[in-house]
Structure formats: structure tokens, C-alpha cells
């Protein structure tokens, strides 16, 4: 082939490739922006929406599925942080009032003048329908916890179409009952859903236990068919500001405004695209390419904040109503006796520099937390004791604390050399020669978590406490660090960490019955303290608001776990012009509140 011909061919190929690239451009998700009636919202990395029924099992009722469901089916009481503080957002609720009996044993609620999208009114019967389904199927309900709703609700009585009374098994703290229990209720369209098979007529089947079980099964079976969400008539009767336009099994969801919505939170943007992402990196790339209107970046990207603002985004950290911690395994056959000693837990806590971790490791995207109540938000629940940090960072004092309790530094590690139960000895059950070493099974996959663990290892070493780090995916961490008794083989773990995105997100009222009460369902380390148990009971039953503060102070001092900085739920990047909302610290998103400024 002659040279000119060869060059001509090369030039032609280059032009063809350029033309192809140019012709291809413009694909993908175009961002919307001000003046548009559409928005692209990035779902958390690796999350695929897969449920829209507002009742279901624990595997389905996660926060993001819940946010989508609540856009379709408005809750009775929206008790969340969407108004900038954690409170009852009446605009986003079906109920307009809740009147508790003076003795605290019942509540009478009032419904607004509201309608389903098919024109039928929303009545007490729709609330009773939810109540009957949950009562009959509580074991399968994801939000069920023994002794709590619906166990503590003894009866439901419809006063009329817009008023009903729920009676409790004893007197309860009205704030707790409203925020943590009644907020579970979501009126469901009885007139459309009360069927014992997909083809059956609507009856009052839910009023018998057997019928309610059948209805539950029908609804849950239908909810398992994701591909039918947009087409099945079952999902057309809605009460929320949005309906499903499309719902891909790959995770992309498009919601469109419900034109029949007559509540207080009318959709501000007509079409909401919820976009799934396979990784945080893929999402950040989409943000940088301008394909997302409301997304997120990694904490490590905070160094480049200006690059996002230059692209037209506001960087807005989204704090979570959460705490982060490492539970001790008090039943560990080797270290359990050491963990039982308050002075030992104090020495550990004093060896952790939360302020520096939050500032350096988390790039300022975490909040030091010194007790069981979230501290990233201002609230009346935090005690002064917790706020003031009873055990400030000091490895010197931590070391002194150990040496004054019978421990001696041998090599790099503290060893118990004076066993016994007097005030200056190691304490009950701690044998002579016991080395103060601990191993954490920590969540893998996060550079920030790895760095935090390394920093903790370094500062504990200064006190003479050995700290080794083992990592596993979060599901393995949870599986391998169960609640256990000392004679079980699975009880060989010392510390567990599953809090890369925060260990525990609270409902609106931050009580600790699951976490720190003896035999609480998420009390993995088997912490037990009778005084704390009584305080936790008081937070749910007493009308005295200071009880939560007492509980906060007691656990800030007693250290049932190692308190750690609580990371922000998300470092959001929001297109300039997207307004009208506060980021809900309960980690829900509320598309109806989003608006493009003109």
C-alpha cells in the first residue's frame, strides 16, 4: 500500500471515530436543574430498591425502601427531621391531632379530610386495616419488637370515620408513644386491598386473624413482583404525593406527581428519578459529569469541595440521628472479666481521641459522641454529663488508672500483677498474668474506617492496651459477633464494629431498650445493669422528660460500649437551585419537599 493511501486510510478512520464519538454524545442521564420539572436523585451505593408495600419483613423494610413507600402511602404520623428538627411534620401526615388520655393509657387520633387517589375517603377503617394486619402477622413485620407495638396496644376502636382510639396495656410516655410507636402506622386502602386472593372480591377479611393472614400473604406476594409495580392496579390506589411511573428490577425508579393528592405536602417537582449506583466511585463520577442533581461524595473527597461547587453543587453534610460505637463482649471467656471493670472501660475510652478522629480521619464529617444519645443535632435529650465528655482523651491518665488497679506495664502491654477485688486490685475474675489485649472484628471496605482503627490502635498502645484489627464484610461482622454466653464457641469475640455509616439509627425518640437493656435484641455484648434497665423503662413510660437525660448521663459514665465519633449519614452534593427542604436526620428522603427555584 502506498504511503499517501495509508495516511488517507488513517485519516478516514480518525474522522470516523470522531464522528462516532460525537454522534454518541448526549446519552445517559442528563441532569435537570433549575426551571426543570424533573430531578435525578442518587440512591446509596449498592442499594437496589425492591419493595413498595409499607408493611413487610425486616429484609424489606430498610430506610430507602421506606422513603419510597412513604412517598406513595402517607404515614399517619410523620415524626421525622424533615422540617429541620425532629418533630411531628403534620403537613406530611394523615392525622391532624393526637389526644392522649390524662392517665397515659390511650390516645384518640383525628384524621384530616383526605382521599385516596381513586377518590375514596381515607377513614378510620383504613387505619384499622393496618392495625389488624400487623396484629395478626406481627412475627413477620420488620418493625416488630416483643412487648412493643402492637403488643402494647390492647384495642382499636373507631369513633367515627375520622376519629379512632387506641388503648395501651399500661401508661406510656406520650412523646415516646407518638414518635416511636404510632409513627409506624400507615393507613392502607382497605377498600382496594382487603382480599384473600389476587382475584377475590374486597371483604372485611382482615377482621379475623385467619383472614388477616391471608390478606398479608396476598399483599406480600404481590410486592414480590417488582416488575409489576408500575402496572398492577393494586399499587394505583395511593395517598401520597407520588405514584410509580416505572420501577426497574435493575433499581431505577421513576416517580410522578399524584394529581389527586390532597394533603399538605404536594409534590414540588413533577418527575423524580431515583438512580441506583454500583459503587460510590461510580456515583461520584456521575456527579462530576453533572448527571446527578442530588447525590453524594465520599468523606475523602472533602479536600476537593471547591471542585464540586465550581460544577454548580452545594456540599451539604447530612447528619444522622445515630450513634457509633464498638460493643464489648462482656461474656468473652478470656476478656469478659476485664471488660466488666469500669476502670478498665474508662481507661479504654480515655485512650480514644474522638476530637482528632473526627477532624483528621473523617475530614470534619463526623461528630464526637460521648454517650447513648446522638450529638450531631441540638436536642433536649442529651445530658450535660454526656455533652461535657466525662472521660476526655488522656493516655497518661488512662495508664495511671490501670497501674492504680493492679496492672503493670510489661514490654508494651499492661499485665494484671495484683489480682483481687479490693479497690487497688485488678477486680473480680481477672486472673494474675492477664494481658490487656483486645481484638476487633471491623467492617471492611472503608478507608476511613481502616484509618480510624489504625489511629485507635496507636493511641491504645500508648496506654499499654494491645489492639488487633480483623476485618470482614459488615454482614459477616454481624454474623460473627452475636449475643452469646461464655460457654458457646461463638463467644470468642472481644469487640465488634459495624458502624462505618453509623452503628445505630434511632427512631425519633432515642431510647435504648434494644441496645442497652438486659436482653435487648441488639445488645450484642450482653451488657447488663439493673439501674440502667430501670432508667430505660422510665424513658418509655414516664411523662417526665428528664428521664432521657438521666439515661444519657448514666450510660455516658458507665460505658457499655466504646463510644466513637458518629459519621455524617451522607456528604450530600445538591445542585444549586434545588431548595425547599431540610435533610432528615432520620435518614429518610422526602421528594415532595424538593423544589427548583425559578
Amino acid at each position: 500500500m502506498s504511503k499517501p493511501r495509508r495516511w488517507a486510510l488513517l485519516t478516514g478512520a480518525a474522522i470516523a471515530v470522531s464522528a462516532l464519538l460525537a454522534g454518541c454524545s448526549g446519552g445517559g442521564n442528563a441532569s435537570s436543574g433549575s426551571g426543570s420539572d424533573e430531578i435525578n436523585y442518587a440512591l446509596p451505593a449498592n442499594f437496589t430498591p425492591n419493595w413498595i408495600l409499607p408493611i413487610g419483613t425486616a429484609a424489606h423494610l430498610n430506610t430507602n425502601n421506606g422513603s419510597i413507600a412513604q412517598s406513595l402511602y402517607e404515614p399517619l404520623v410523620a415524626y421525622d427531621g424533615s422540617t429541620g428538627k425532629i418533630a411531628w411534620n403534620k403537613a406530611g401526615s394523615v392525622a391532624t391531632d393526637a389526644e392522649f388520655a390524662e392517665d397515659g393509657t390511650s390516645v384518640t387520633m383525628t384524621l384530616g379530610d383526605r382521599h385516596w387517589s381513586d377518590g375514596e375517603p381515607i377513614t378510620s377503617r383504613d387505619v384499622e386495616f393496618w392495625f389488624n394486619l400487623i396484629k395478626a402477622n406481627k412475627d413477620q413485620w420488620g418493625s416488630y419488637s416483643e412487648g412493643k407495638a402492637p403488643d402494647n396496644w390492647t384495642s382499636f376502636e373507631a369513633v367515627d370515620d375520622t376519629h379512632f382510639t387506641i388503648t395501651f396495656d399500661k401508661a406510656y410516655n406520650p412523646d415516646w408513644m407518638l414518635a416511636n410507636q404510632l409513627s409506624h402506622i400507615i393507613p392502607l386502602p382497605q377498600h382496594a386491598w382487603d382480599k384473600t386472593s389476587a382475584s377475590a372480591e374486597v371483604t372485611d377479611a382482615d377482621r379475623s386473624t385467619a383472614g388477616a393472614k391471608q390478606v398479608w400473604k396476598v399483599l406480600n406476594t404481590a410486592a414480590g413482583k417488582i416488575a409489576d409495580y408500575a402496572s398492577d392496579d393494586l399499587w394505583k390506589t395511593i395517598s401520597g404525593p407520588y405514584g410509580v411511573e416505572s420501577f426497574s428490577t435493575a433499581g431505577r425508579v421513576t416517580l410522578t406527581a399524584n394529581p389527586e393528592y390532597d394533603g399538605g405536602e404536594e409534590a414540588g417537582i413533577g418527575t423524580v428519578n431515583l438512580l441506583p449506583f454500583t459503587s460510590a466511585d461510580a456515583e461520584v463520577n456521575a456527579v462530576r459529569s453533572g448527571e446527578v442533581d442530588y447525590g453524594y461524595i465520599n468523606a475523602t473527597d472533602m479536600d476537593q469541595e471547591s471542585s464540586f461547587t465550581q460544577k454548580g453543587y452545594e456540599v451539604e453534610p447530612w447528619t444522622g440521628w445515630a450513634i457509633t460505637y464498638m460493643p464489648y463482649n462482656f461474656n468473652n471467656p478470656d476478656m469478659g472479666a476485664v471488660f466488666e471493670q469500669l476502670y478498665a472501660r474508662q481507661a479504654v475510652q480515655m485512650s480514644i481521641d474522638q476530637e482528632s478522629l473526627a477532624k483528621v480521619v473523617f475530614n470534619g464529617t463526623a461528630t464526637p459522641t460521648f454517650g447513648p444519645v446522638p450529638q450531631a443535632q441540638e436536642s433536649d435529650y442529651v445530658s450535660d454529663v454526656q455533652r461535657d465528655n466525662p472521660y476526655p482523651f488522656s493516655t497518661k491518665k488512662a495508664k495511671q488508672l490501670l497501674t492504680s488497679h493492679g496492672w503493670t506495664m510489661q514490654g508494651d502491654t499492661m499485665v494484671c500483677t495484683d489480682p483481687g477485688t479490693s479497690g487497688s486490685q485488678c477486680g473480680e475474675g481477672v486472673a494474675e498474668g492477664t494481658e490487656f489485649t483486645m481484638q476487633v472484628l471491623s467492617q471492611s471496605g472503608s478507608t476511613v474506617t481502616d484509618n480510624m482503627m489504625s489511629a485507635i490502635q496507636s493511641s491504645l498502645a500508648k496506654t499499654g492496651i494491645g489492639f488487633t484489627i480483623k476485618t470482614a464484610p459488615v454482614s459477616s461482622v454481624l454474623s460473627q459477633t452475636p449475643t452469646c454466653t461464655s460457654d458457646e464457641a461463638s463467644c470468642d469475640w472481644d469487640l465488634s464494629f459495624f458502624g462505618t455509616a453509623g452503628s445505630w439509627y434511632f427512631p425519633a425518640y432515642p431510647t435504648g431498650e434494644s441496645l442497652f437493656q438486659t436482653a435487648g435484641s441488639a445488645n450484642f455484648g450482653s451488657y447488663s445493669n439493673e439501674e440502667v434497665d430501670a432508667l430505660i423503662d422510665a424513658t418509655t413510660t414516664s411523662t417526665d422528660p428528664t428521664k432521657v437525660q438521666d439515661y444519657s448521663a448514666a450510660l455516658a459514665e458507665d460505658l457499655p460500649v466504646i463510644w466513637l465519633p458518629s459519621p455524617d449519614y451522607q456528604i450530600s452534593v445538591v445542585k444549586q437551585g434545588l431548595t425547599g427542604f431540610d435533610q432528615d436526620s432520620l435518614a429518610n428522603f422526602h421528594p415532595a419537599q424538593w423544589k427548583w427555584s425559578k
Binding site: 464519538l21 456515583e283 454474623s479 445505630w504
Partner: protein, 319 residues
């Protein structure tokens, strides 16, 4: 041995291998401490909910019973339901596998179409400027991690020159994927560059080896030109090791390219497998293992058959 008998024997061997793989994976999964319930249901799950989950999934049964049930369902085409994705595993594979095959298949074809002539060209002009340049480029792409290469492409073509989207097509069907061809360009190029780097080296080495053979010298003595020798004689013989490699590459085609899928937001088989492993989603893990092990034995089988078709010496050695 006739070809039919040979193939029959290989198919039976393949079935045995797949069965053994499922037994090993099944045992390994269930040997993990704790079980999947807590990981799937989350921190706040109660003991009653965990017990109900284990009962519903049959995880409270002895391991042999669970395995026999798994095999029984498998015979009816039921791979179970994903713990985390709320979909039958069979359906998930049906959705993800074609997408993966499209991405990895186009990358492989593009890579081969470029790698084979480049490798031969380099061999024909070995130690020349072109050979050195192509070798250097191959080493660069071979040693560059796919995530970095993909990231560079995204920065250049999506962010600096906003010509192409940073995400692969998000559709769930092939029709939806092909509606957005622009989205396929960067992930395909990322995969193809690595493929070119690897296979051009194989092709170069194989061609060089063949160029030393007696039959090439004989052809030259007979007056055949270099290009004719390459086209008519060396090309086919040089393909033999490349085809063997391609057979081993088949599991990658089916298993998906995890890094590319993560980076370009393209939920395929690789990501399905990875996420299932991360979340202890046993049914999905077993389904993926089944697909990949079948692809592995089929790939090996196809490579052997193709080699025997191309190279009569291979067939003779089996006789």
C-alpha cells in the same frame, strides 16, 4: 476414539465437575460462622425474626437435607430467591447475564480484532520501531489496573471533553442497553484495551515461534512472499495458543468484569456475585457459581474442540 465419544466423555466429566463445585461451595458457605440471617436482616433484627428467617429459608435443617433440597429445586430450574434483592435468582441471572455478555463480549471481540493483527504485525517487524512502540503500549495497558484506566477515560471523555456519559446504559433489557450505545463506549474500551495488551503479546510470541518453523523456510524457498506466508500458513498455526487462552477466558465473559461494572455503574454478573458474597446471599452466590463453573467447563471444552479442528496434531494426540 470417535469425536462423538470424546465429546460425550468430556460432557460427563463437565457435569461431575459442576456437581463437585456446587458441593464444595455449598459446604464452604455453610461453614461460615453465624449464618446469613443477621447480615441480611440488619442490626435491629430480633432473635424471633432471625429464627423465622432461618426457618423460612430452610437454614434450620441439617446440611445434607439443605443440599438435597437445593439440587431438587435445581432440577426444576428453581435457584431460589435472593435474600437481599427480592427476586428469584434465576430471574436475576437472566437479567444480568445478557448484559454482561454484551459488555465483555464486545470488549473481547474488539480486543481480538485489534490484538491479532497487531501481534502478527509486530512479529513480522520484530525489533523495529513499530514493534517497540506496540510493546511499550501493551506493557502500559497490561500493567495499568482496569479501574485506573477506566477512571482516566471517564475524566477525559466524560468530564474534560463531555462527549460520552460516565455511566453504562442503565436499562434492564438488551433493547434498553442498545438504546444508549454511547454509554457502552467507555466500559467496552476499558475492557478491550486490557484484552489487546494481553492477546497481542500472545499472538506476537506465537507468530514468532511459527516463523522459525521449517515449513516457513520451505515456503520462503518456494518463493512465497512474507505477507502470503503470514496469511496462508502462519496465521492459522499461530492461533492455536490464542484459542486455548480464549477458552479459559469464557468464564470471565460469563462471570463479568467486576471493576468495570462497579466503575461504570453497570450491574452485571460480576457485581451480582460480589454483592452476594458481601451480603451472605447464599442462593445468589450458588446461582452465580453454577453459571461460572458451567462457563469454565464449556470454555475448556470448546477450546479443546477448536484446537483439534485447527490443528490436526491435537486430534491425533487424542486418538
Amino acid at each position: 476414539m470417535t469425536t462423538t465419544l470424546y465429546l460425550l466423555r468430556r460432557v460427563l466429566q463437565a457435569l461431575a465437575v459442576v456437581l463437585i463445585v456446587t458441593i464444595v461451595v455449598f459446604c464452604l458457605l455453610h461453614a461460615l460462622p453465624g449464618g446469613p440471617a443477621r447480615g441480611v436482616l440488619g442490626v435491629s433484627a430480633t432473635p424471633a425474626q432471625i429464627a423465622a428467617f432461618n426457618q423460612a429459608q430452610g437454614l434450620d435443617q441439617p446440611l445434607p437435607v439443605q443440599y438435597v433440597r437445593f439440587l431438587g429445586r435445581l432440577l426444576t430450574g428453581d435457584l431460589g430467591t435472593s435474600y437481599t434483592l427480592n427476586e428469584p435468582v434465576g430471574q436475576l441471572i437472566v437479567e444480568r447475564l445478557p448484559k454482561t455478555l454484551v459488555l465483555t463480549g464486545i470488549s473481547a471481540v474488539l480486543g481480538l480484532v485489534i490484538a491479532i493483527p497487531v501481534g502478527m504485525w509486530q512479529a513480522a517487524r520484530r525489533n523495529g520501531a513499530v514493534d517497540y512502540a506496540a510493546t511499550a503500549l501493551a506493557f502500559v495497558f497490561y500493567s495499568t489496573p482496569a479501574f485506573f484506566l477506566g477512571l482516566v477515560l471517564i475524566i477525559v471523555f466524560s468530564q474534560q471533553l463531555p462527549w460520552l456519559p460516565s455511566q453504562a446504559p442503565g436499562g434492564n433489557t438488551l433493547a434498553e442497553v442498545f438504546q444508549d450505545p454511547a454509554g457502552l463506549v467507555l466500559p467496552v474500551v476499558t475492557g478491550a484495551l486490557a484484552m489487546i495488551a494481553v492477546f497481542s503479546r500472545y499472538m506476537r510470541a506465537s507468530t514468532l515461534e511459527n516463523l522459525q518453523e521449517d515449513y516457513v523456510r520451505t515456503a520462503r524457498a518456494g518463493g512465497a512472499s512474507t505477507s502470503a506466508i503470514l496469511r496462508r500458513h502462519v496465521f492459522r498455526n499461530s492461533l492455536t495458543p490464542v484459542i486455548a487462552m480464549l477458552g479459559y477466558y469464557l468464564p470471565v465473559l460469563f462471570g463479568g468484569a467486576l471493576v468495570t461494572e462497579q466503575l461504570f455503574n453497570y450491574p452485571g454478573m460480576g457485581l451480582l456475585f460480589w454483592n452476594a458474597a458481601q451480603s451472605s446471599d447464599y442462593p445468589t452466590l450458588l446461582g452465580c457459581v453454577l453459571v461460572i463453573s458451567i462457563a469454565t467447563v464449556v470454555g475448556t471444552l470448546l477450546a479443546d474442540v477448536a484446537q483439534s479442528l485447527i490443528d490436526p496434531r491435537v486430534k491425533a494426540s487424542r486418538a
